[in-house]
């Protein structure tokens, strides 16, 4: 299914941060009620790359995203986002940084008392952008996620897949340099999942946005690793065999609070680790 275009395709270019990565975790640990959820996690997300995070339920994937955006504080370790050390920033400083980062929550987290228009426009309204400009950009981004007709509807009137796409629209309207997706296709039918995967691939290939994506669906991540977005046809197309490693896509697997795999699709399918082989089988 071809995805509509966003007219302003200028944003992508992520500024190179002093740390050289869009996101960097350095020995990060966090525990809840003495249960260690993340134990000395270290990894890097290069600019323009999308990294899919896997792990069994409760392995700390969503916690990791919340740590990245400063919604939670780690017990130890350092986290850098766009060159800024999130772990040393005050909440006020974080508000500024978060304007450069978009996040799609697991359950969409749309403001249920606001219509779709206000949900998507929330950040623009906060920035005091003129109403006409806001309306143009909201319509544009809703067209991008193919939901322009939902403009005046409330979140409760939308299906799960539509809510997820509105959440993506809300996250990308300010053209952020980094996107964090928390199970964007969780609980959705294959057709809707594919539409969302296509949107994520488009963000990656057209806008070069760096992204961390938590998912349980291995097939979605493999689709992303084996496809690229074709601007000419305006749709996602499969890559020829042998070129799968040419897309900026990587995988990270968590187990018992530790990173047990961090690498590309080829490295993943050729892994000899029993747990990983069982996981991807």
């Amino acid at each position: 299914m071809p995805a509509p275009t966003l007219p302003s395709e200028n944003a992508a270019a992520s500024a190179v941060s002093p740390s050289g990565y869009a996101i960097e975790f350095d020995n990060v640990s966090i525990a809840f009620d003495e249960k260690v959820v993340l134990d000395s996690i270290s990894f890097q997300l290069p600019h323009g790359e999308t990294k899919a995070l896997f792990g069994v339920a409760g392995s700390g994937k969503s916690t990791l995203l919340k740590l990245a955006i400063g919604l939670m504080r780690p017990d130890s370790g350092r986290i850098f986002v766009l060159g800024e050390e999130v772990t040393r920033m005050s909440e006020q400083e974080l508000f500024e940084l978060r304007r450069r980062v978009g996040i799609v929550f697991q359950e969409s987290a749309l403001f249920d008392s606001m219509p779709v228009y206000e949900n998507v426009a929330f950040r623009l309204m906060e920035e005091g952008i003129p109403g006409e400009e806001i309306e143009r950009r909201v319509r544009e981004v809703l067209r991008f996620v193919e939901l322009e007709r939902t403009y005046d509807m409330f979140p409760s009137e939308l299906s799960g897949g539509m809510r997820r796409r509105v959440a993506i629209a809300r996250a990308i309207i300010t053209e952020p340099e980094v996107l964090l997706y928390d199970s964007p296709t969780g609980g959705l039918d294959p057709v809707t999942s594919n539409t969302i995967v296509e949107l994520i691939v488009k963000q990656r290939d057209v806008y070069k946005t760096s992204a961390l994506m938590v998912t349980h669906r291995l097939q979605d991540a493999f689709t992303m690793a084996t496809h690229q977005f074709d601007k000419a046809t305006n749709q996602m197309i499969p890559l020829p065999k042998g070129q799968h490693c040419e897309v900026p896509m990587s995988f990270l697997i968590l187990r018992d609070g530790k990173v047990i795999f961090d690498g590309d699709a080829h490295k993943l399918v050729t892994s000899r680790d029993d747990y990983i082989r069982e996981y991807i089988s």
């Binding site: 919340k66 955006i69 919604l71 909440e91 006020q92 974080l94 508000f95 500024e96 978060r98 304007r99 980062v101 996040i103 929550f105 697991q106 359950e107 987290a109 749309l110 403001f111 249920d112 929330f122 950040r123 906060e126 005091g128 809300r170």
Partner: protein, 264 residues
């Protein structure tokens, strides 16, 4: 089915209470400091003022009238024994303006709005809407708490004036219709007994009570844990805590004003 009784250390309880007091104090101070930081969210404040003020009007009218009438009725039976029915106006006036008007209005608004705030913000917490707001670069304290604090304190001031007035009208109804008190005599005594200190006491209290209602309601909403059951718990706790706090603060404010201005 066997029940296991879990014993909780008193130190843990004390620690939790101290932490809650600290968090509540910080939230309250932050909500006040936000009045001096941009943006001020005037639109949200007006919307909340409408919800809290206009929405609470029927209940305030009803309680104001009832309390004034009851005060007159109960005091009249005692005053009659001493031939002092003419003093009903003074008693209703003093009682309503200095004490019952602000207190009853505060308790009514606490029951209606502290619970509303706690459940609204609590639902936003459990559905990650507050996290989403923070992630979108907006301070939830500034966007959600400060407008509610401002609107409640502002509207409670006027709601109390309305309750006072209706209480006096209720008292007049009883005094005139049941005890045959002359209209002019009643209203003259109502007016003459009041001094600056009484009016000041009656108008400073609703501002403080409004602050308590909004900050307690928002605190319990924002600290909600444990899904929909947690929202229900927060709602109940918000009403109980704000009502108790209003009663305690009422006592100390009255005492403080007596200390400053002296007894009558």
């Amino acid at each position: 089915m066997a029940f296991e009784l879990e014993l909780i250390s008193p130190f843990e309880v004390a620690k939790d209470v101290a932490l809650a007091v600290q968090e509540y104090t910080l939230l309250s101070l932050q909500s006040l400091a936000n009045f001096f930081r941009r943006p001020l969210y005037m639109g949200d404040m007006v919307q909340q003022a409408d919800l809290i003020g206009v929405g609470s009007l029927p209940i305030v009218i009803l309680t104001g009238l009832s309390v004034g009438a009851l005060l007159a009725l109960n005091s009249a039976s005692t005053l009659q024994r001493f031939g002092g029915v003419t003093l009903i106006g003074q008693l209703v006036s003093l009682g309503m303006v200095t004490e019952l008007g602000p207190l009853i209005t505060g308790l009514m608004v606490a029951g209606r709005n502290a619970s509303g705030m706690a459940s609204e913000l609590g639902s936003m917490i459990v559905t990650e809407q507050i996290d989403a707001m923070r992630a979108l670069g907006t301070d939830p304290t500034k966007k959600l708490v400060t407008p509610r604090v401002g609107a409640t304190a502002f509207m409670l001031f006027f709601l109390t004036i309305i309750a006072d007035l209706l209480g006096l009208i209720g008292g007049y109804g009883v005094a005139h219709l049941l005890f045959g008190l002359d209209t002019q005599q009643y209203w003259t005594s109502v007016w003459q007994i009041l001094v600056f200190r009484d009016v000041f006491t009656g108008l400073i209290k609703p501002v403080l009570f409004g602050f308590i209602i909004a900050t307690v309601g928002c605190y319990y909403g924002i600290s909600t844990r444990g899904g929909t059951q947690g929202v229900g718990r927060s709602t109940t706790q918000a009403v109980v805590a704000s009502s108790v706090l209003i009663l305690i603060v009422d006592f100390f404010v009255t005492k403080l004003i007596f200390a400053i201005f002296g007894y009558r």
